[in-house]
């Protein structure tokens, strides 16, 4: 019973890491940059969802779509202000700039949304269902399904739609892509908007199980980055699988040893895995053409 409950809990948390890590993957494959304010974007999704559906009382689907749209806008802002000025000059300062951007957003939310954690009610997290002797909320089962569905959709979109293929083309050869008429700047901006929307979706999904507060994204962001590296930054499936594996591993360690050692164990496994497979589980070696 402990095992089942732990695995289900671990899979839902793991899908969260996977969704946020997909965001890292998306911007990386399109522009070789990473948005370190992903954790804050996740928080933004939860906060906006709370404001629209609880404070303003709008129906949940509308609140969710609006929240995700605004998260996407945040991604556009991050790309335009914190990444493009540096990336186009071949500088790595976007690393620090996006970290700073995340901190700024956390503090803006702290001063506007409020200083206390709030409860995000969900119809899917009220009565637990009994599954193999363990009580789980329907929401906990829905989350991994959503995560996997999103990964499938992304993979399909990248390889089978024109927009997706043009996004992939941008990273393969930026100049060639430009010559072929692909708007590189728009592609990169779009990838950032998509990545923050994914993080926002993760925030919306996890909020009913936890609580909504301005600093909820920090730890998730760090773990999601570790998951992205573990899965191989250039593989969507790798990232999602790594997320699920990481979440399950965390839950199993907690189930048998308590949560005090979970962080140590989980991050140690990440280091070990990278030592054995430096490009991540499903990543490919980056080829530097000279």
């Amino acid at each position: 019973m402990l095992l089942i409950s732990a695995i289900i809990s671990g899979l839902s948390l793991g899908s969260m890491y996977g969704l946020i890590a997909l965001g890292f993957h998306v911007t990386y494959v399109v522009s070789n940059t990473v948005n370190f304010s992903q954790g804050s974007a996740m928080m933004l999704g939860a906060v906006l969802g709370y404001i629209f559906s609880v404070t303003l009382g709008w129906p949940l689907p509308i609140a969710a779509i609006l929240a995700l749209a605004l998260c996407g806008l945040f991604g556009l802002a991050v790309e335009r202000i914190l990444v493009r000025p540096f990336a186009e000059r071949n500088s790595n300062a976007w690393l620090m700039a996006t970290v700073a951007g995340g901190i700024v957003l956390d503090n803006i939310i702290l001063f506007t949304f409020g200083k206390e954690p709030r409860n995000f009610p969900s119809a899917l997290a009220v009565k637990p269902v009994q599954l193999f002797g363990a009580g789980v909320y329907v929401l906990q089962l829905v989350i991994p399904v959503v995560g996997l569905a999103v990964a499938l959709l992304l993979q399909a979109a990248f390889h089978h739609t024109r927009t997706g293929k043009s996004l992939l083309a941008v990273v393969q050869n930026r100049d060639a892509a430009r010559l072929m008429g692909i708007d590189v700047r728009r592609a990169i901006a779009g990838s950032f908007a998509l990545s923050t929307a994914l993080a926002g979706l993760a925030g919306l999904l996890i909020a009913p199980l936890f609580s909504v507060q301005s600093d909820m994204g920090t730890l998730f962001g760090i773990k999601a980055f570790a998951v992205a590296i573990l899965g191989g930054m250039n593989s969507a499936w790798g990232v999602v699988l790594a997320g699920l594996a990481y979440g399950a591993f965390e839950a199993l360690v907690t189930a048998y040893f308590g949560s005090t050692y979970t962080q140590i164990a989980a991050f140690s496994i990440v280091i070990l895995a990278l030592a054995i497979m430096p490009n991540g589980l499903l990543g490919r070696r980056a080829v530097n053409k000279v």
Binding site: E116, P128, L209, Q213, T254, G258, T262
Partner: protein
């Protein structure tokens, strides 16, 4: 030829004048400081403390202030972070020149500030954090006083309640993994040993844990009949939510962590199941002094509309009495020097306070003004903390 003053000389003259003028300005008021969590899950507690201190401050100033000067309160947010708490304490003492300062909600933060207060010889008065070692810190000259619960005594009261109300024979503990949790682990173990009651298991968990089911399952499998809980609002809510998911209906006897914030909202419909300890409540039968303070509170803070807005009463009441007791000490000392104020604390013989009538509240061997006879048990109902009538 006239000598024109250069711009540089003018600047330095202005700077020098300001530099010497500002400290002089600071002497016209007596400053008392507060280091507390004012944001995060304990924000409501911090707010209650500020209100209690401010209300008492207004009364003191209305009667002429202290040593002929007005008293003012300087606050700093420690964000429940011990390092930030120490920085804030230093700032209050060294830059704001406070004469004494009050301590806030979190035990780990207060514990970090204690050595600094003793070293700087500035009285540090706790109004919430209950860690035993805060006042019992082993210093030869102890500058730390407290008007609040003490973990060791709370734990005795928790065990007594579990036995009396639920007939506990094999209780278990679910504790937050920090200094406060450890303080209570020691206290609960010794309280149980004194009554010769065995415990089923001790489980720890982290503030960010979403899922506490593993730890609770282990407690359930060990045969726990009553659960002792020590954690702040958010983690306590996760425990209650996890218990709901497991479908385990076990009595929960808790320290006052849930009182610090919006427990009814975060824990959901099972919130009233948690019985926790308090030192004061504005609900139930109110003393005349309590009625006066409540009226003054509503007048000063129009945002207080219902009794749920007066929660947590503990923060308001502890802080209110602490401010008055500190003012008494400063007045008795007749000076703003730390060592003299400390000596004066011991000379307070009687004070008619909000929580109780204090008789010699502080002695060098016991710098805690409240004892276990001042504790009451309460529960949350629709956001309001109500006393339990046994």
């Amino acid at each position: 030829m006239p000598r024109f003053t250069s711009r540089r000389q003018v600047f330095s003259m202005v700077a020098a004048v300001l530099f010497f003028a500002l400290p002089a300005q600071a002497q016209t008021t007596i400053r008392l400081g507060l280091v507390s969590a004012l944001s995060g899950q304990n924000a409501k507690s911090g707010e209650a403390i500020v209100r209690g201190l401010s209300l008492a401050l207004d009364e003191i100033n209305a009667q002429g202030g202290l040593l002929g000067k007005k008293v003012e309160l300087v606050t700093r947010d420690d964000e429940s972070n011990p390092a930030k708490g120490v920085v804030a304490a230093r700032e209050l003492v060294q830059r704001e020149h406070v004469v004494a300062f009050f301590g806030g909600v979190d035990t780990p933060v207060s514990l970090a500030i204690v050595p600094f207060a003793n070293q700087a010889k500035v009285p540090f008065i706790g109004v919430w954090a209950a860690g035993t070692a805060i006042t019992k810190n082993g210093a030869a000259e102890n500058y730390v006083f407290r008007v609040s619960a003490v973990d060791d005594l709370v734990d005795v009261a928790l065990v007594d309640y579990a036995v009396k109300k639920y007939g506990a024979r094999k209780p278990g503990m679910i504790l937050i993994n920090n200094a406060w949790g450890e303080s209570n682990e020691a206290g609960l173990k010794s309280a149980l040993a004194a009554k010769k009651i065995p415990y089923s298991a001790i489980e720890k968990f982290e503030t960010e844990d979403v899922d506490v089911v593993p730890q609770l399952t282990r407690l359930k499998n060990a045969g726990t009949d009553v659960l002792f809980m020590v954690a702040n609002v958010a983690p306590s809510s996760q425990v209650v939510k996890s218990l709901d998911r497991m479908g385990w209906n076990v009595p929960i006897v808790s320290h006052w962590g849930p009182a610090g914030g919006r427990f009814s909202e975060l824990a959901g419909p099972s919130a009233p199941k948690v019985h926790f300890i308090e030192t004061y409540s504005f609900s139930g039968k109110l003393s005349p002094k309590g009625a006066v303070v409540l009226a003054a509170l509503k007048k000063k803070y129009p945002a207080i509309v219902s009794m749920a807005d007066v929660t947590p009463a503990v923060g308001i009441a502890n802080a209110y009495d602490a401010m008055h007791l500190t003012a008494l000490a400063i007045a008795k000392a007749g000076s703003t020097e730390g060592p003299k104020i400390r000596a004066a604390f011991y000379k307070i013989d009687s004070y008619d306070g909000l929580i109780k009538t204090y008789k010699t509240p502080f002695t060098p061997t016991n710098q805690d003004a409240l004892s276990s006879s001042d504790y009451i048990f309460t529960y949350f109902k629709d956001g309001e903390i109500l006393p339990l009538t046994n």
